[in-house]
């Protein structure tokens, strides 16, 4: 939701910070309401007002709110962690994804073993397994694309969404601070 502080004759957070008159066409006013001074202060500290203004002019008007919010997020991350900023968070998340994917692969392999065992000892009761997968796949949890019925046929790593790690050093993760 965009605030238009100029309509209330109250300067936006940016113009307040910069100690200037907030004009009706101020590019910052819709995205830096006066009741959120820290947001602009952070963005100004890391990116600078003129860089933010240039960036906002480069994107379409309907994208500017998202652009400001992502800049504010990056700025806050960089202030909390001046060395790694958002890259620290990305590195930690990527390692968690890899670890979890390995666990999923191992669990899928175990699942296949159990399924084979069940097939051997209960050959006439496949419909109970199907009932279980249907229950687990139908509105019982977050939607993951309805893949439960084909779990056994699914490639173990098909749920993976890998990014190459941008950071080759062995980060201890100590420098990462939770942003929220």
């Amino acid at each position: 939701m965009m605030a238009s502080s100029s309509s209330y004759n109250s300067p936006c957070a940016a113009c307040k910070f910069l100690r200037r008159k907030c004009m009706p066409d101020c590019i910052f006013a819709p995205y830096f309401p006066p009741e959120e001074p820290q947001k602009f202060a952070n963005v100004h500290k890391i990116f600078g007002a003129s860089n933010v203004s240039k960036l906002l002019n480069e994107v379409l008007p309907h994208q500017r709110e998202d652009a400001v919010n992502s800049l504010a997020y990056e700025a806050e991350a960089r202030i909390k962690d001046p060395v790694y900023g958002c890259v620290g968070a990305i590195s930690v998340l990527q390692r968690q994804v890899i670890r979890l994917q390995k666990e999923l692969d191992a669990t899928n392999a175990e699942m296949i073993r159990y399924t084979n065992t069940c097939t051997e000892i209960i050959p006439t009761h496949h419909h109970h397994h199907d009932a279980a997968t249907r229950m687990l796949g139908n509105n019982e949890g977050p939607d993951v694309g309805g893949s439960s019925s084909s779990l056994l046929a699914q490639s173990p790593s098909s749920a993976a969404f890998y990014y190459p790690s941008p950071w080759n050093n062995d980060l201890s993760g100590d420098a990462f601070h939770h942003i929220h």
Binding site: I46, F47, G48, S50, N51, L55, E58, V59, Q63, D66, A67, S70, L71, Y73, E74, P82, V83, Y84, G85, C86, V87, G88, I90, L93, Q94, Q96, V97, L100, Q101, E103, L104, T107, M111, Y114, T117, C118, I121, I122, H125, H128, H129, A131, A132, T133, L136, G137, E140, G141, P142, V144, S147, L151, A159, A160, F161, Y163, P166, W167, N169, H180
Partner: protein, 149 residues
Amino acid sequence: MISGRCAACKSQRRKCPPDCIFSPYFPPNDPQRFACVHRIYGCSNVGKMLQQMPVQMRAQAVDTLYMEARWRIEDPVYGCVKLISQLHQNLGDTESELAKVKALIAFHKLQISQVNELHQPNLDASQSNIVEQFQFDYPAQNHYPWFIN
């Protein structure tokens, strides 16, 4: 000496002093590196950030600033934050998938143990309640609260 200027001082068209804060991290043979960082953060902001941290951390700081600057140039709206959002989403999806598979394993373990205990070929009557006995807690959708639409 003009030929010894770092990329930052070359870009700013100034002399590069011996104690230039930028020169260890912006070599003259990689002008793109400083250009990206300068475009997003500005020369004076980068200088201030470097001054405020220990010398031994500055190289890594410049590396990460460069990475984030490149992401922002490629995606002016979301920068690297889109990647963070996607990673959170991926983590949530993988956790859900893992919970489902573990639940199925538990179900099969129970099936096998029931068969072993009862030694009966027709298990319809005893197994009809097995599925209903299981209640699983999935990770809540808002466990990873970052959302970008």
